[in-house]
Symmetry: C2
Subunit: 260 residues, 2 copies
């Protein structure tokens, strides 16, 4: 006799959203995402979290800069010459940065802390997936605000207000390769705190706080692969703690960081 009881195991479905058009400045991104999800037969539902890649958010917010409009400083020009890089791009990195964390012309490394507080290479600027070779795509000015806006747009279109995570691909200390991180959040607590909860043996656990928003961003990358047009992921079925949400909870204060 088949067992029709509900499954006792947890599961999460991650769905890539395809079919969004090229994103122009000023578009209603939440509306477009909701329509694309509907069109492909996976409309946004009440147990969804949406992960939106930074690039389309930046394009919608007109954060694509023509390099011809950028006048490099002497400092930028000197580093660019030593590192063999475009001085206008280096200038943009410096403008987007609050502090330089590592700068090594020989290796071509420029790791900075952005005005938002993210520590990453080139202030999160990159030149891939931008139509014009002579332009660069900056991070949104306030990615949490971007996430809130997209959330409101999705709600207006569907009546559902899923948490929104804006993701970007960064390198890490100590490990090679890039992974996706959360750079903007709205509608959920980015952390899950296991401190003080009992483990499987009824003992109080010690230290673990999980950066679930970063894990969701990493999960989304499995379907939003770089070279194809999948700029959004729906993550379906994960319980989460509703909250205003902000990436600031994910960023270690400089005074507590031993690696800056």
């Amino acid at each position: 006799m088949p067992d029709n009881s509900s499954p006792k195991y947890p599961s999460v479905l991650t769905i890539g959203v395809v079919g969004l058009p090229e994103i122009e400045p000023g578009v209603n991104l939440g509306h477009m995402i909701a329509e694309a999800a509907e069109r492909q037969g996976t409309p946004i539902s009440h147990d969804d979290i949406l992960v939106v890649t930074q690039k389309i958010v930046s394009k919608a917010e007109d954060r694509v800069v023509e390099l011809s409009s950028v006048e490099p400083s002497e400092f930028a020009a000197a580093y660019a010459a030593a590192a063999g890089r475009d001085p206008r791009l280096v200038e943009l990195v410096l403008r987007e940065s609050a502090a330089i964390v590592r700068m090594d012309a020989e290796r071509g490394v420029l790791i900075t802390e952005t005005h938002h507080g993210f520590v990453c290479a080139n202030a999160g600027i990159d030149m891939s997936n931008v139509p014009d070779e002579e332009s660069a795509c900056l991070l949104p000015v306030d990615p949490d605000a971007s996430a809130r806006r997209i959330r409101a747009e999705v709600e207006k279109q569907t009546g559902i207000a899923p948490p929104i995570i804006i993701s970007d691909t960064f390198g890490r200390a100590w490990r090679d390769g890039h992974v996706n991180f959360a750079v903007g959040i709205a509608g959920m607590d980015p952390m899950v705190d296991y401190r003080g909860t009992d483990d499987a043996h009824g003992r109080t656990m010690h230290v673990t706080t999980i950066a679930v928003a970063d894990e969701l961003a990493a999960t989304a990358e499995l379907v939003t692969a770089k070279a194809i047009n999948v700029p959004v992921a729906i993550i379906r079925g994960l319980p989460y703690a509703s909250a205003v949400g902000s990436t600031s909870a994910l960023l270690r204060e400089r005074s507590r960081d031993m690696f800056r």
Copy 2:
């Protein structure tokens, strides 16, 4: 008229595996995982990747150490006294470490590079989820070999040899909270290399190599929550590159690392 064509969007299903018994040293973990997956109605299939949490692997490999058997060195005892920690646990951390990366008694921080090359707090040792308060659970001696063994055990049981990732929860530089990382791999390339591939605009992309094994480990953590008995995740439907696989590809060489 319903559209019965196959969906054009990518999707990945992540399933937690429950119902494994308490793990004793020497058990056939692959066999137990395959049976538990079968029992809950989600038998291992040809498009699966398995993520196994480090704790059950270490238990199966008898890497749980009684603290009463550990004699602290003077160095360990001095740090432990200053940091207010158990000197036997500090001694174990030092034994598991090839180098100390950050040591700060006032903050209670002891970040080391393990003999495997992982940079993490306390050499990856923790005391949660171990039955006896007076014991500590070390990382497997050779987690890639552990992954290969589990893979062979699963294949013997099911006829299917899915890639195996062994995961553990580490902190990060610059960001608060912990996420899951891959510490052992068998059967797949842990990296996806987008360098040289065309992006959505037909341009050659620049730098991105994705540490997909770390993203899979992070994905698994969404269902293998800490406080409940879900030590394994099945990740279903993600295309991957078959390979022998090793975590060494994920570890930046010390000479190329600017944060050690």
